[in-house]
Amino acid sequence: MATIEPTASGLSAHDHAGHSDAYRIGFVRKYIFSTDHKIIGIQFLITTLLMLMVGGALALGVRWQLAYPDSPMPFIGPWLFPQQGGKITPEFYTMLFTMHATVMTFLVVIPILAGAFGNFLIPLMIGADDMAFPKLNMFSYWFMWPAIFFFGLSMADPNAGPAAGWTAYPLLSALPQAAPGSQIAQTWWLLGLTCVGISSMMGSINYLTTIINMRAPGLTMFRLPLTIWAMFITAILQAFALPVLTAAGFMLVADRALGTCFFIPAGIIVNNADPTVGGGQPLLWQHLFWFYSHPAVYIMLLPAMGMVSDMLSTMCRKPVFGYRPMVYSMITIAGLGFIVWGHHMFTSGMNPMIGMTFMVSTLMIALPSAIKTFNWLATIWGGKPQFNTVFLNCVAFVSMFVVGGLSGIFMASVPTDVYFHDTYFIVAHFHYILFGATLFGVFGAIHYWFPKMFARKMSEGLGQLHFLLTFIGFNGTFFPMHMLGIGGMPRRYADPYIHPYLEHFLPMNQLMTWSAMLMGFAQFILLFNFLYSIKFGKKVGRNPWNANTLEWAAPSPPPHGNFEQVPLCYHGPYEYSHPDWNGRDYLMQTEESMEKVLAGQTSDAPQKEATT
């Protein structure tokens, strides 16, 4: 079969029309305080897309300051800083990058992966009718809003927004005298952090329970699509790492509000205030924070890896290359992810022997990532893809992940990290991972699963235009950061050009800012395409990509309860282009066999090895 076209043939065996609309419910419970995983997923998706725009706007503020430190900020500058003639103040600048990172990490990337796609896809892809705990699921979405509220409150604080960076290292974050933004704004920020923590926690428990208990008959663990494996491993990471951050957050709030001294040593005089009484240790925060936030890096990456594996396989009409190695490497990433946090602290003054241990474990975590990359390449190899938006975004994921992964090696090696730590090199590195990899994966996933959400396709032309502009803007913004890093430009500088050795980087920074504006502008195309296509996109059937996994067996959009009848799963999710097949190049998991049972298939599925 040459082209991918809409078809509803996937479930023709068990098509029970008119069975699903028995369930009636009011508007508020259906669309707002919904317990339906699909609605919650879409709520997460729309919320996080809006937050993506907010986080992007904050980033543009940062970029403006780095490109034109002496010029007033366009449009809103004169209104925000009338005293400074519209120029960004250093306090405001610290708030900008703090909130940019906070919004992008906690309100965009984590919830769009786990919250939006996790919610929408897990029950559908495992053939369940909903999550194990629908109400908990609802709460997990609605705990985002107090978080957004607290973060907003913290940003809008009239003294100054939070100023300690997203890592909130004490003492800057612990003592109100340390910075204007470390007053009440920092407490609001920590409360916001706690709320997103609770939200993810509830989500992760739910995902674990659902994936373990509610898989369709015949869907063994090693028949799960890689997306679900990734979500499963992510949920484990969240469930075990997040409590540490939540505890640390409470300890810091206690330090700030109740006079405890977990992180505050004695005799510190900040800003001519009285000396602290202390007895605490600021490094403790770094350990606790990174114990969560390093696994969080994988929380922000693994689901995208899983989704890209699925999308590449479907688009290339080819089974994922090395399914089991893919699973094992994700498990390895998760396992090692717990023992590498110290690589954020090579220059922090912790025991240098431990530094060596962390260096070895960190370099070793590059290994499963490398294996995955090679497997993706091999999945495309010999495939027959349509070069559509989904495929392009997935290829961008692989290509950019290679860059981000390789630049990570420089940081994993302690001696080179001594130089690159806290320079723009690390900024380049994690943007290549979090944007270059994760967000391109997410853009692909939005286009790929949109038909399941709304029974319509997103516009292909707009999708490719968005991809093109984002890709160019992205590389124009972040690639030069490697050079800035090698040049020794530290992060978080409101005006780097007062240092003579950095002066000549100004033109490069201006180029980066223009690229960032292009990239920011391109996201409006995505937003427009998304909203427009909900109403006016091309109508498609339940399986527009001719994909195999269970969600495409459900009607689009899936009704309450998802499937007309419990789907039976006969084999793994990647049966594409078998040489013996004629006429059709895919075999859905719900379909028992194409013409005869394929030889060599492990078949611990509900027996019946007959031919149709």
Binding site: A179, L363, G382, F387
Partner: protein, 285 residues
Amino acid sequence: MKKLWSLFFIFWPIAAIVIFAISPSMQWWFPGEAKSPIGARIDDLFYLILVLTGVVFVGTQVALGYVLWRASSVKADDKAWYTHGNHKLELIWTVIPALVLLFIAFKQMDVWAEFRIVDRVAEEIRNNPVAEVTARQFEWRMRYPAPGKKLGIIPAPDDMHQVNELVLPVGRKVVINLRTEDVQHSFFAPQFRVKQDAVPGKMIPVWFEVTEPGEYDLVCAELCGWGHYKMRAVIRALPEAEYQTFLAELYEESMSDGFVAEGEAAAEGEGAAAEDSASAESEEE
């Protein structure tokens, strides 16, 4: 269109390599050669990793370009390959990267030890730090011991102080005690490739050797508040003889507060100090 997109993905890695290749000549590179032996070793490691990652980068991007180009030329009635993987391939691309990564890891260890393991510094040097650098919002304060004396943990009355200027001797390994008075800062000397956080409540020794006299930058690399960017000091590296002269002069300067009693000034001996304080006194009269 398919071919165009394939070329699009082939174009960017080439652009990346070209940019990296021209960067050193465009000054988009290290701020000068490393001016310390440890910095030179770090640079060597950087180039080693750059070559290794460069090879992997080229390899994977060529592979990606190839598979895309191949995919773009597939005919309509061709079928995609049907394969679930290849054990041998998996083994190859597990073992080889593992060996390379382990090689990188073990190759680094000695440099790291040189930089941070305290045994690598001779006891003599370790026990005689040349200065204490205290970071505070938003400046660097230096404290030197009086000539011939040891730097104590607690400031001594005859210690000498400087702000935002650190003077160091050239050609020998020196130890600096790094502290912070308030929040966390980080001592970053880009030309020496040296970086160490200053953690509240801790005193951390830092050691390195400056190889060439000159003026170098000292900046803060850990967010410390709104003025983080302007926390700037100059490191002035002097040949040993000039360094000793500088210390002597600094000592005289810091001892002459204009109120030195006649007898004490005499006891200090003849020389510039006495004249200096005398002239200061006379000025005040």
